[in-house]
Symmetry: C2
Subunit: 201 residues, 2 copies
DNA sequence: CAACTAGGGTACTTTTCGTACCGTATTCGC
DNA sequence: GCGAATACGGTACGAAAAGTACCCTAGTTG
């Protein structure tokens, strides 16, 4: 009856996103229901569906609001940098935010159009810090130049993610991180320019 | 009215599982509904819920029926064996069966009690062939003995799985497999006993 | 000021899981 | 063999939750 000052456009969109973020942090993606988001934003599902085609799209948009960049480590040694990057990743995936990311990846279920939006947070963009850190190590002579390749550079973090997927652990113990670095990553990137395993004939 | 010869116990259980397997192969895990399985098995949901607590458990049980062991390669060279193992995994994950496995892992969502049942197919048991193949390579002098460790031995297959998760590809091209073997796996396991990256002090 | 657009309220359809009842066939203990 | 316990079959139901459809109304736009 009184002044209803109906929100529109960007204002309403922000309110919806903020409500989605709140639901996401409180209840995870599983608990993100369109009705609850609408209720919390003080609107209704219509307004949401006009902006996002489905629940997953809304979830991804809300997740992006939450994702934040972490500082690049620079300990002066590859081992320290690699461990710090792994610890950052471990913290992230152990956090409620990590659980949400996993749920979203799961819900995307290989749909490339959705995966592309999440890769900035989990995939290719994750390669950038590793390449930087590894580049410094190469300059220092700690690593062979031919390892400056995304596939090689990100081996450590891929192995750590594998721990989460396969073991379903809430958080990988630090031993595991150290093992990944010492048993796999450092030996891999330190190889001096031996014959790099070309096929025979 | 006439002789209904009602099935019980193991006979009924097999019928249900077989129906679940059929639904799984035809429609994937998403299409595996309790009602359809019951109808197909010529029974009703009661009989199912008496045996499996929920849809996921039934899906896992049905998947296990489908999973079959593959022969261990022995090409006489580590590179050939590794590539063959990767190609087997690639074929598996590209197949409808692989899609089902991914869906199940997704549905398990980190629940350890379910993950444990799937790890035989995707996780730890997958380490056994790699350790065998790698053991032969060590005996031949193709690999350093200290790499006979599950974490190191399975690096290649973990990287391949990562391709599926991150890229959402239906099937990894063979170049990727070759790259994983030549750029990562072989250099990693071939390291001669250098200083294995212990922490400084 | 009139026409158009976008929000709000609400109800509804659909799908599917999981549960509850109730009568009956089969098996098991005696 | 015979009665009691158990497991099946049929069916119906409750509970979410996604997504859709209308209709009315508040703002915006020209």
């Amino acid at each position: 009856m009184a002044g209803q000052t109906r929100r529109r456009g960007a204002a309403l969109e922000e309110a919806i996103l903020q409500a989605a973020v709140a639901e996401l942090t409180e209840s995870g993606f599983a608990g993100l229901t369109m009705d609850k988001v609408a209720a919390r934003a003080g609107t209704n599902k219509n307004a949401i569906y006009r902006r996002w085609p489905n629940r997953l799209a809304l979830g991804i948009a809300a997740y992006k609001q939450l994702a934040t960049a972490v500082p690049l480590p620079d300990t002066g040694e590859l081992r320290g940098d690699a461990l710090e990057l792994l610890r950052q990743a471990n913290r992230h995936w152990s956090s409620p935010l990590g659980a949400i990311l996993r749920d979203l990846l799961v819900a995307a279920g290989g749909a490339t159009e959705f995966l592309a939006q999440l890769q900035d947070q989990s995939g290719d963009a994750a390669a950038a810090p590793w390449l930087t850190v590894l580049g410094r190590a190469v300059a220092r002579g700690e690593a062979a130049p031919e390892v400056l390749h995304p596939r090689v550079a990100t081996v450590a973090v891929v192995l750590l993610r594998n721990e989460f997927v396969v073991r379903g652990v809430p958080s990988a113990p630090d031993d595991v991180l150290v093992e990944i670095v010492d048993e796999v990553y450092l030996p891999l990137v330190r190889r001096r320019g031996e014959d790099a395993g070309q096929a025979p004939g």
